[in-house]
């Protein structure tokens, strides 16, 4: 059975001014994927995100989201930004943050409707945050806050959930919890996860791409090849995943006991 293409990236080169940050990106992300994009800082991850969200136009190539250009197709995307990008002191409650997510599908309207409120209740339940709805965002833990922003992304019923470094503000212990939530959500939405954390991602995703100016995808399930990573990080790396106690990725058994994640 041929899977439906959710996002199609074709020959994309992009950057800022005269500087090319990503080059020749070709990739299909299919409906139902749990797609991981990994790469070092400065490798072009956020540039690629901006292209997908229609915030930046590529120099070359094109992108289609369910067959539509990004400015229209992004209605299908729920976006979860990095936590560092918003103001912790801003006067806003959990409820108001999630309600905001309805703007993309409702369009301009001075007031929120009862449908908007109903969807907000449902979504807060889904991420088990309903009882915190009156809390201010600064009164939450990193993990709880992340759930709120996932709820904001989900409240518009998107087909795709796009997350940028979602675990940066979460304790290692709670990360497993968080990824289990994502895995659960993945039953109904396509998930794209962008991170520099090579370890954790691999146990949950079904496809991985490595991005460092160029992108290498590996279409066999759950496989990151050593060559792929070495090309991405331009250095020898070991493939060790988190898990209990340590889950080593499906290749290169001889490297099993090394823990070094040499990024330099």
């Amino acid at each position: 059975m041929k899977k439906k293409v959710a996002i199609e990236l074709k020959n994309i080169s992009a950057g800022y001014g005269n500087e090319i940050v990503i080059e020749n990106i070709n990739c299909n992300i299919y409906n139902g994927d749990f797609f991981g994009i990994i790469g070092p800082n400065g490798g072009g991850k956020s540039t690629l995100l901006k292209i997908i969200l229609g915030l930046l136009n590529p120099f070359k190539g094109y992108i289609r989201i369910y067959g539509k250009p990004p400015k229209i197709g992004r209605k299908n995307i729920g976006y979860v930004p990095q936590y560092s990008e918003y103001d912790k002191h801003y006067p806003i409650s959990v409820w108001d943050v999630v309600l905001m997510g309805r703007r993309s599908i409702r369009g301009f309207h001075p007031l929120y409707s009862s449908d908007d409120k109903k969807a907000t209740v449902e979504t807060l339940k889904k991420v088990s945050m309903l009882k915190y709805k009156k809390r201010h965002i600064s009164e939450l833990s990193g993990g709880q806050r992340q759930r709120v922003f996932i709820a904001r992304a989900l409240v518009s019923n998107p087909k795709i959930l796009l997350l940028d470094e979602p675990t940066a503000s979460i304790d290692k212990d709670l990360q497993i919890n968080f990824y289990n939530l994502l895995k659960d959500l993945n039953k109904s939405v396509t998930i794209i996860l962008v991170t520099h954390d090579i370890g954790v991602i691999s146990s949950y995703v079904n496809r991985v791409a490595c991005l460092n100016r160029f992108m290498f995808t590996h279409d066999d399930e759950k496989m990151i090849s050593r060559e792929m990573l070495e090309k991405t990080y331009s250095c020898p790396v070991d493939l060790i995943a988190h898990g209990v106690p340590h889950r080593v990725l499906d290749e290169h058994k001889k490297n099993k006991n090394k823990k070094k994640k040499g990024v330099k």
Binding site: L53, G54, L55, R74, K75, I77, Y79, P81, E85, Y86, D87, H89, Y90, P91, I92, S93, D96, V97, M100, G101, R103, S104, G107, F108, H109, P110, L111, Y112, H136, S138, R152
Partner: protein, 283 residues
């Protein structure tokens, strides 16, 4: 004392100013554009000078407050233009517009022969004098305030998203550049409402302090506006009374009162938190 019309006008102007600065000041504080508003406010000095100059030259008679409005709008639009926002450093743009506006004001006022037309004392332009407010100023302030309230109610939802998370606003399909421009224009209008009360230099205080005090005690944007209006009203009235009783410049007494209240509120909040954290650690 309240039977004097100038005292009535003074309190009326204080009320209008407090409402405007409660609403727009809240956005200024949460969007962190205090100094953008400062730039807009100071440039109005140029507009006031320009209006007096035109009066003196006899070309057209325009009210000084109307000159301030024109300059504030020009600077607001420049600050809000997308290519200026993205290509220029924001603080440099502010600095340039700020001083150019003030220099123009000094230049225009210098050209005016004060024996020919009645010119407000530059010090009272800069630091305000609510005792000099005329009824037509009140009408202009009232008209601007109605416009500010109407636009804010209509765009409240989108302003909330824009000021919280601009990137998310863009992705949600909000025309961020236009909305930001509208916000700048609202700030310009508010500035004009405030000028007569506290003067060009002290506008920042009225825009910032009531909202900042309010933000210490609430985590809800609507409440923040509401409390900022209340705080603004009370403190402005108090400052005005001080000015009348002790014959002090009203702009200064209002701003100093705001400053003192902010300090007290900060200390009060800190003490309350200390007590709370102690009781909760005991239980």
């Amino acid at each position: 004392m309240f039977q004097y019309p100038f005292v009535q006008r003074m309190f009326l102007a204080g009320l209008l100013a407090s409402i405007a600065c409660g609403i727009i000041g809240t956005y200024v504080v949460v969007k962190r554009v205090v100094f953008v508003s400062g730039g807009i406010a100071h440039s109005t000095f140029g507009g006031i000078g320009f209006a007096y100059y035109l009066q003196y030259m006899g070309f057209i008679i325009i009210e000084p407050l109307f000159g301030a409005l024109i300059f504030a709008l020009i600077v607001a639009v420049i600050m809000g233009l997308p290519f200026i926002r993205t290509r220029m450093r924001e603080d440099s743009t502010i600095g340039i517009l700020w001083v150019v506006g003030m220099a123009l004001g000094v230049l225009f006022l210098n050209q005016v022969d004060r024996s020919k037309i009645l010119v407000q004392d530059p010090v009272s332009i800069l630091f305000g004098n609510v005792l000099l407010i005329k009824m037509q100023d009140i009408y202009l302030m009232f008209g601007l305030l109605i416009l500010i309230i109407f636009v804010t109610i209509f765009l409240y939802k989108d302003f909330h998203i824009l000021t919280f998370d601009e990137e998310f606003a863009r992705i949600s399909g909000i025309k961020v550049d236009i909305l930001y421009l509208i916000l700048m224009i609202l700030i310009a209008l508010t500035t004009v409402v405030l000028i007569k009360v506290v003067g060009v230099v002290l506008v920042i205080a009225m825009l910032t302090i009531p909202a900042a005090i309010s933000n210490l005690f609430t985590h809800n944007l609507k409440n923040m506006m509401f409390f900022a209006i209340i705080i603004g009203c009370i403190v402005t009235f108090y400052g005005s009374l001080m000015s009348l009783n002790f014959d002090l410049p009203p702009g200064s007494t209002i701003v100093l009162s705001l400053g003192v209240v902010f300090l007290l509120a900060l200390i009060g909040k800190f003490l309350v938190q200390q007590v709370f954290s102690k009781t909760s650690s005991i239980t």
